[in-house]
């Protein structure tokens, strides 16, 4: 059609109109997502007098806020609380969700379909409805205001089980049978053969679970009463409430709170895209 396609060496870079639209949309989306983050960091570097000065680069950047937040005894405590909760719940989901998912995917037994559907159907109950029974249960068992109280509702999830089941179904039976013939027991087959074959799913599950628990607000707010057990999101709101909304402090806390998320992303980065993609494909 055009000579440009026939002589690529001499051609002007061809600009595809579709590409322009695509990049424009992506650019706008990117700006929308990045701007609040930039303002968060920017505000965290401002003095209280400067917060309503909306310049992105503070006139006189200062790390005083960071020092204050870290010096304020409770912040580190909340950070540690959030870390404990998010890490324990994530590990628990990786272990139990995949164990149950594997069993549902790879073993034939009476009631298998029923169990699977029962697990799936819990996905349809909204958290708001569950909070009251959870609370009553915690009160009865003495779990209020404990780590276990914060963690127990999320130790396994229907979504995680479903995700892992779908992935284990893609693992060929031959792999498991070969291992069986070579003498591995069923637990070892799961752990040494099946689990390594679904690492993308495990990474995706780890990310979803960690982020979900790191940012969880509603349930931790209800179940904790003492400041020492607050998780970060609860603690950060208490800044707002108790200290007449000190935006620079809230932003500093929020900036510090994003660090673990960034670390998780960097560590699991090479799996994320694949994992999310596969999760999408599997629906």
């Amino acid at each position: 059609m055009t000579s440009a396609t026939e002589t690529p060496g001499l051609a002007m870079p061809r600009i595809n109109p579709k590409a322009i639209v695509r990049w424009t949309i992506l650019f706008i989306g990117g700006v929308l997502m990045v701007t609040p983050l930039l303002y968060m960091f920017s505000t965290s570097l401002k003095t209280p007098g400067q917060i309503y000065d909306l310049r992105l680069i503070p006139a006189e950047p200062t790390i005083a806020n960071y020092l204050e937040v870290l010096r304020e005894g409770d912040f580190m405590r909340w950070f540690i609380n959030s870390s404990i909760v998010a890490v324990v719940v994530t590990l628990s989901n990786l272990f139990f969700d995949s164990l149950v998912g594997y069993t549902l995917a790879k073993f034939q037994f009476r009631g298998r379909r029923f169990i699977f559907i029962a697990i799936l159907s819990t996905l349809m109950i909204p958290t708001e409805m569950l909070v009251i029974p959870w609370y009553l249960m915690s009160a009865q068992f003495g779990w209020l205001d404990t780590y276990w109280g914060i963690m127990f509702p999320g130790m396994t999830t229907a979504f995680g089980t479903f995700l892992m089941k779908q992935f284990f179904e893609t693992v060929p039976d031959d792999f498991l049978e070969a291992a069986r013939i070579d003498g591995m027991n069923e637990f070892t087959i799961w752990w040494k053969i099946a689990m390594p074959l679904v690492t993308p799913a495990l990474s995706a599950l780890a990310i979803f679970t960690f982020l979900g628990n790191w940012t969880a607000f509603f349930w931790p707010l209800i179940v904790t009463t003492s400041k020492e057990l607050y998780t970060l999101p609860i603690g950060l709101t208490s800044f707002a409430v108790e200290q007449a909304i000190r935006w620079e402090m809230i932003m500093t806390g929020a900036a510090l709170a994003t660090i673990p998320t960034l670390v998780i992303f960097l560590v699991l980065q090479r799996f994320i895209v694949r994992g999310v993609m596969l999760a999408g494909l599997k629906g």
Partner: protein, 348 residues
Amino acid sequence: MATISLKKLTKIYGKAEVIHGIDLDIADGEFVVFVGPSGCGKSTTLRMIAGLEEVSGGEIRIGDRVVNELDPKSRNIAMVFQNYAIYPHMTVRENIAIGLYTQKLDKDEKAKRVENAAQLLGLTDFIDRRPAALSGGQRQRVAMGRAMVREPAAFLFDEPLSNLDAQLRAQMRIEIKALHQRLGSTIAYVTHDQVEAMTMADRIVVMKGGHILQQGRPMDIYSNPVDVFTARFIGTPSMNIIASEYASGAVSGNGGSPILLGVRPQDLHVGTTTDVGAGTGLSLSGPVTAVEPLGPETLVHFRVSGETVIGTAPATEIPPVGTEVTAHADPAQLHRFDAETEKALESL
């Protein structure tokens, strides 16, 4: 090394019986090939021997033990799967070493066995690679390595070459056979490819619909198939089957009831030069529909009463499509089957 023996072995899935009580004795060190069309129950039989499927009825013995109730791992057998089942997250060395998972050997001994197996299979240069970096043939060798290090009582293969291209398949056939001759191990090998069966087996077991139709040495089955199915299944191209009334000059007779005549394309000589006395043997004529020059000889397809028949012509005589040809077969090369039951009648 061990014998394997099946007695009245059956398999039932739900309500459907798919293996109907088969009997078979595999001798120590014998290479037995199960062959048959897809769905005839070859894999099911092999998987019952391996312990991957429960036995519904009958008995399986490996050596002098009845193994019906034993775990796969307690049967001391090794299995090679169609898609190799080598683990993508482990190196070749680790994959082969999995074969020694339960063996109580010290580390050096294990390493030595793994390296010996790798060397025997020509994998030494790839031993620290992952399967993703290997070709199909190399992956298949890794799977065989994992089976070999165990030094099992018997090897089971389920269509191990089906995923390879034709050339590699031919090469691996020879390698597996050479390996068998070297190790002297008992092998049960499943395939739907009659060429694999003919070239590798000490004994062929022809299966169809969950029954064993015939078993015997490859040449015996080739020369004396017991029915039309086996006759057409073994040998390529398939044997021609002709209703006797269309065969002029054929010897007929089955106490008057109709018979079918079978003749292999290699035995049906097309052309005028073949010197066959009139009235003896089989003589067929018809128009040529296709020719396939193979080099040493040419396959000639021609039509006789609406049926396509394949004969062989010398390399130098390629009849044009459309011409009328006549083909002759020696009486000794004819197979006769009852038209009703399709069972072989005793040879002429």
